[in-house]
Symmetry: C2
Subunit: 486 residues, 2 copies
């Protein structure tokens, strides 16, 4: 049932309002919008067609960006000998607690247990060592789209699941300079993807040593602010130095025919990004999807009964065909249900533009257009010009969504120069603060406020001073971004 | 080194000729063409970029065909409770010997072991039972692209690997008629894909009871003849009746509000299809790729040294751009290597069309075109018309490849009416023969000749008589196709 002002609120769809319990809002919305469901094994996820279509759209765009920068896709095995993980000391220490282990196969106990890949540095390292022999083989730029398994004690759909889908890029280079350039190039691609496709503004920067990937020399991240003002790490890019090259003997003969270790990188973005889209844009009425990732960018709802309906259906179909010819994903909702039910349903599912078309609209040669962000209200648009206007309307929708998220981030980010201000600000959003760089001090901040350093932002202004927590001299030469996070 | 007639033979590339040892030819070619490599765990496979690109092209075409017939993609968990497989008696019996089992995860022994999916009927059955309640929810048409694990004792790259990639469609219907229609529709899609994209003619038909999928009431298959005249089962489509619906309680309320069990189907095609492409078309010089699955449909080799080379490179780049604008996947081989090396390399890798362009060609406004099938020899083609002619050349290449495979199949298929003729024919290729339908008799034939019934072909002529092996009255009402197979 719609609320009296005609603007159905969360309760009408059975979703807890964000302000009451953000976590409940999220869980209920993911299930009600049929994005995903819980699998039978604890922590596993079923990605339903509506959610999977978003993943496909994400894949297509990101994959194109990878190919345009010279990467090729390949596929490496799911099962990895347990001994491989042990070759890189920090790597095995980081991942051991999360491993799923196959001990029996083909009806027998295995001589060596196999781990289900939590990430593929080790098996790819082994293959790189077989494939690379000369400087002519470098750089080797490979990406894989795959599932990985990391045992989760506190699972959450899309955000932390025992199995998730991702892409993991793995590259080998002649030296550290070339590998670092790749690390930053791929971070830049994630920034572009987040902004230009997902309409999510992100802060890019480097992780502190305590937050690095297990086995990396440097880890870079993009961090986004969710509507509950927490941070979500949305993708990472790692420079490994020669750690994995030494562990897996990835060497090449340089131009003077000397045997040299490669420098490697890895970088990944997962189904977690769909969680970011839900939480960065959603409201009490449901999802708000960026056009780049919306399974349906426009839904046309034909209205009317009996004799009047055939002409409306025909006009709706024509409109959809016209939009599709312009590269728009349009859908006619021909279900046997009331218009009100359909409006609510597509609002919940976050469709950017809704077109309402009834017999009276048709008679006057127009349709009613409603954007999911809602600021413009209902607009009557001539049927002749409607389809042609959709690409621009979608661009404007994307821009408005990005602008809204950017303003929201700005409003809830502030500098904090003393501990009281810091503790208050991380309850409100992101705090920019100086820090001493000591792991014990990071732990202390986390214990006191539940906030962690999200990154040393790439574009931060040079600044020196004292640590916001302990008063020792600051490290990093600039402020860090602190926040509570997912 | 090229043989004296200028037509490099297998030995020149270090590949055993097909006629000498087909199996060695296959294994060597897969590795040398860099399609795949063996993974560290026995039976696992690494799909290298050239092979994976073929898989991507296959996926794109098949996925489009699925979507056009109303299917949506989704993703279901890799790990399945062991108890799920036991709910369908034949299913667990069929798959138990091949299972990989996770017994430990997150540092602890699990209460219930988890199997790594060998196929997903069970977990999808569980989810379908949650999602389906009314006849309005049907048909439910879902597909998933995923990896599966089946422990292999005699692994072979692409053909039988411990882990492989595939798509598995799973659908639920109101009754058997609707489910059977879906089963046959999807078989038809596989037939079209094999013929129109892979250039492989297939025999479609039904499996005998002994060759059915574990848990299916009826299994349909497409069978292709390889160049060693063995059969390769290239895709299957199964009608499950209500077996899985009863095991997982997939029911719906019909229009009279009675609770009824659904009828379900599943259908799959895997990376094995790439093995079919290699073995159906390859020759002693290497791969021969159908244009629909070729990573590069045309490779342009610029020839010349020093000052002359810049103009050639420029013309080659222009040619490639012109071809790409026409939807052709063109590649300029700018490597620092001899033209002869490049010709051999792309021949080995099966590129349909090679364009040779040197300074003298350029001066006379032409290039040399060589098709991988080779019948036409070298053709001089004017540079002005070359790019425009490529789409037609590729269509002709596809048609010639299909025609060659069709003739090859026809030449090596014959009816066999008595046991001696049968035993001789299955050594030569496919034998069409009447059979009694008894499992013991199938076993007897297999023990005597290594041949198995591949299918009861859909288009077989009605015929009755006596079994080619035991002389009892024939079953099935038509001849079966028998062959040795992969």
């Amino acid at each position: 049932m719609a609320a009296k002002d005609g603007n159905p609120k969360a309760r009408d769809k059975g979703i807890t309002p964000q302000g009451e319990d953000f976590s409940a809002w999220y869980n209920e919305l993911v299930l009600k919008a049929e994005l995903a469901d819980r699998g039978p094994v604890k922590g596993t996820m079923v990605i339903r067609p509506y959610g999977y279509r978003m993943w496909e759209l994400l894949q297509a765009r990101l994959d194109q960006m990878f190919k345009e920068t010279g990467h090729q896709n390949a596929y490496f095995p799911l099962l990895i000998p347990e001994s491989y993980l042990k070759r890189e000391a920090e790597h095995v220490e980081g991942f051991s607690p999360e491993l799923a282990v196959v001990t029996h196969a083909g009806g027998k106990e295995l001589e060596e247990p196999l781990v289900v890949r939590p990430t593929s540095e080790t098996v790819i390292g082994e293959m790189f060592s077989r494939w690379i022999s000369s400087h002519r083989d470098l750089p080797l730029l490979v990406n894989q789209w795959a599932n990985v398994v990391r045992w989760e004690l506190r699972p959450r759909l899309f955000l932390r699941t025992t199995e998730f889908l991702w892409q993991e890029g793995h590259t080998a280079h002649v030296d550290g300079a070339d590998a670092m350039a790749e690390t930053m190039r791929m971070l830049g691609i994630y920034v572009s993807f987040a902004r230009d496709v997902a309409a999510i503004p992100v802060i890019e920067g480097e992780k502190t040593p305590g937050e690095r990937f297990a086995g990396a020399l440097r880890t870079f991240t993009i961090e986004a602010m969710m509507r509950d003002r927490r941070a979500l790490q949305s993708a990472t890019s790692h420079y490994m130095g020669d750690n994995f090259s030494r562990a897996f003997d990835i060497t090449y003969a340089n131009e003077r025919n000397e045997l040299v270790h490669c420098h490697t990188t890895s970088w990944g973005l997962s189904t977690r990004m769909l969680g970011a889209v839900i939480m960065a844009h959603g409201d009490d009425r449901g999802l708000v999807l960026p056009p780049g990732l919306a399974p349906h960018q426009v839904v046309i709802v034909p209205i009317g009964r009996g004799d009047e309906r055939a002409a409306v259906d025909e006009a709706a179909a024509r409109l959809a065909t016209d939009m599709e010819a312009r590269g728009v994903r349009a859908h006619v909702d021909g279900r046997d249900a009331s218009p009100g039910f359909k409006f609510n349903d597509w609002e919940l599912r976050g469709v950017p533009l809704r077109v309402e078309l009834g017999p009276r609209d048709l008679a006057s040669g127009q349709a009613v257009v409603v954007a999911r962000l809602g600021a413009e209200g209902k607009q009557a648009v001539g049927l002749d010009s409607l389809a042609a206007s959709v690409p621009d309307r979608l661009s404007a929708f994307h821009a408005a969504l990005l602008e809204r998220a950017t303003s929201f981030g700005d409003e809830h980010t502030a500098a904090a120069d003393d501990w009281d201000a810091f503790a208050a600000q991380v309850g409100e959003g992101f705090a920019n603060a100086l820090h001493c760089g000591r792991a014990e001090c990071e732990d202390d901040i986390k214990a006191g406020t539940a906030a962690t350093p999200r990154c040393v932002p790439s574009d931060g202004e040079p600044e020196e001073g004292t640590c916001v927590r302990c008063g020792l001299p600051s490290a990093y030469g600039k402020r860090l971004v602190f926040a509570r996070s997912y």
